[in-house]
């Protein structure tokens, strides 16, 4: 096995997490990750050793996701996605009703965002990529990335405002 494969293997959990935020159902997300891995192996020569493996893989994953949705073959349809989102929320560790509602709110709010804005804010907020890295993953200039994140925040801020103030304090993951 090449060193690259080993580096790729280390990124699988992160790929799965980002894929789940895009595709949402765990099965669909793993399908997306699998396709990403296959493409990465086919295109391994394209990886620049000076670059971050994670960014490179995220780039492939995002483009794969975009292609699938553009082809009309999304990895899951919105209704399934929502059902799964709610089901996943219910499966969490002893979720309180507030927590379920909270997840539902943020999931619905993210669902309403345009795909490009959603992908941008997830990379920055969830994956903690730098603006440069996130822009690189999405194949856009940094200014455009910032703009998308800002617009996404405007929407989410307005959408989530009542829910945020109504919900109990939450536990931070990171």
């Amino acid at each position: 096995m090449s060193d690259l494969k080993w580096l790729i293997a280390r990124e699988i959990p992160h790929l799965r997490r980002y894929a789940r935020s895009l595709a949402r159902t765990p099965d669909a997300a793993d399908e997306l990750v699998q396709e990403t891995l296959e493409k990465a192996l086919r295109k391994r020569a394209q990886w620049r050793r000076s670059g971050s493996v994670r960014s490179w893989l995220f780039t492939i994953l995002y483009r794969t996701h975009l292609n699938s949705t553009r082809d009309g073959k999304p990895f899951t349809n919105p209704r399934d996605r929502m059902d799964e989102t709610l089901a996943a929320a219910d499966r969490r560790v002893e979720p309180t009703q507030d927590a379920s509602l909270m997840w539902r709110d943020i999931s619905q709010a993210l669902d309403r965002l345009p795909e490009d804005q959603r992908a941008a804010i997830l990379l920055v907020t969830l994956e903690d990529l730098s603006y440069d890295e996130a822009a690189s993953v999405l194949g856009i200039p940094v200014g455009t990335l910032r703009s998308r994140v800002s617009r996404a925040r405007d929407t989410l801020r307005n959408t989530m405002d009542p829910a945020i103030d109504a919900a109990a304090p939450i536990r931070r993951i990171k």
């Binding site: 060193d3 086919r42 929320a89 969490r92 943020i106 993951i173």
Partner: protein, 305 residues
């Protein structure tokens, strides 16, 4: 009001929300001074941070269920190196071993006990014999990790989960190579079986479990149906070894398990799933990867027990 107030723009506020100014305390202080006098902007920042927290809360957990075997197979399949790459292919499979235990199992206080908890020898022997009856795979292939039919259920967490991750013990000094792994979920715990085979086809099965109570016990050697076995407990890990010549090789086997065992503090994510590098020497057989990219950890040696 700070004299730099007017230089603060939306980009600075975004960077502040995203924590990107933590490494620029001067600029961060300027933003905070700016916010102090602008309640509307301050409210935006508060809401933006709350939304970010919601997103992390909803999606932020690294998936703690084992990666589906097909993902690993995808990586293994593409290896063009033939038999020369076999050890590291196996190492990759080993890297995916994850043992999780349900809540209520305190971790961290390991008091030695006189009585060694006896694992389910009969069940271990059954798995050992089942694997022994399976023909050894071709030289260039590795039997992929298999998951029990209950694996899906194991992904549903019913309580706080204590995580533990470790590399597969390296039994190559004894001439045994990891042939496959198998995970299953029992009524209250996960179990991982590791199957090692040597060139003659002899099999050693290592069964790893999380015990109900942590303890440290000395190995107990026992014979069951003419097959040797040894078992002991190392804190929050129960080890059962089954195979030929176990007693003679016990010091080497136990040493290999000890080296591989890595405890993770309760509540923390396992090293693999938090993205930290695994033990480099375990995965590369002493050869440091040459393709590290900037920002990637240089595979530091991890102190493992």
């Amino acid at each position: 009001m700070d004299r730099f107030d007017e230089s603060i723009d939306d980009r600075d506020l975004q960077a502040y929300v995203d924590g990107r100014l933590d490494r620029d305390p001067r600029r961060k202080a300027q933003v905070e001074a700016y916010l102090e006098h602008r309640p509307e902007a301050r409210e935006h920042v508060r809401l933006d941070r709350a939304v970010a927290d919601r997103i992390r809360e909803r999606y932020g957990e690294i998936p703690d269920d084992p990666p589906p075997p097909r993902l690993l197979r995808t990586l293994m399949r593409g290896s063009p190196g033939g038999s020369g790459t076999r050890p590291r292919t196996k190492a990759l499979a080993a890297a995916m071993i994850l043992i999780a235990a349900l809540s209520g199992w305190s971790v961290g206080r390991f008091g030695a006990t006189a009585e060694s908890p006896k694992p389910n020898l009969a069940e271990g022997l059954e798995r050992h014999r089942g694997a022994a009856d399976t023909p050894s795979p071709a030289a260039a292939t590795t039997r992929p990790a298999t998951m029990s039919s209950k694996q899906g259920a194991s992904q549903q967490r019913t309580g706080k989960t204590d995580m533990l991750t470790m590399q597969a013990p390296d039994l190559s000094p004894l001439g045994y190579a990891l042939e496959g792994t198998e995970s299953s979920e029992g009524r209250t715990r996960y179990r991982t079986n590791l199957f090692y085979r040597d060139r003659e086809g002899d099999l050693i099965t290592v069964v790893l479990e999380r015990p109900k109570q942590p303890a440290d016990t000395a190995p107990t050697v026992e014979r069951l149906d003419d097959v040797q076995s040894a078992y002991w407990q190392d804190g929050s890990l129960t080890v059962l070894v089954i195979g030929d010549r176990i007693e003679a090789n016990l010091p080497t086997i136990k040493s290999a398990v000890d080296r591989a065992f890595q405890k993770i503090e309760k509540g923390a994510l396992p090293a693999y799933y938090s993205g930290e590098p695994l033990v480099a020497e375990d995965l590369t057989h002493g050869q440091a990867p040459s393709a590290l990219s900037p920002g990637e950890a240089p595979m530091p040696d991890r102190q493992i027990q």
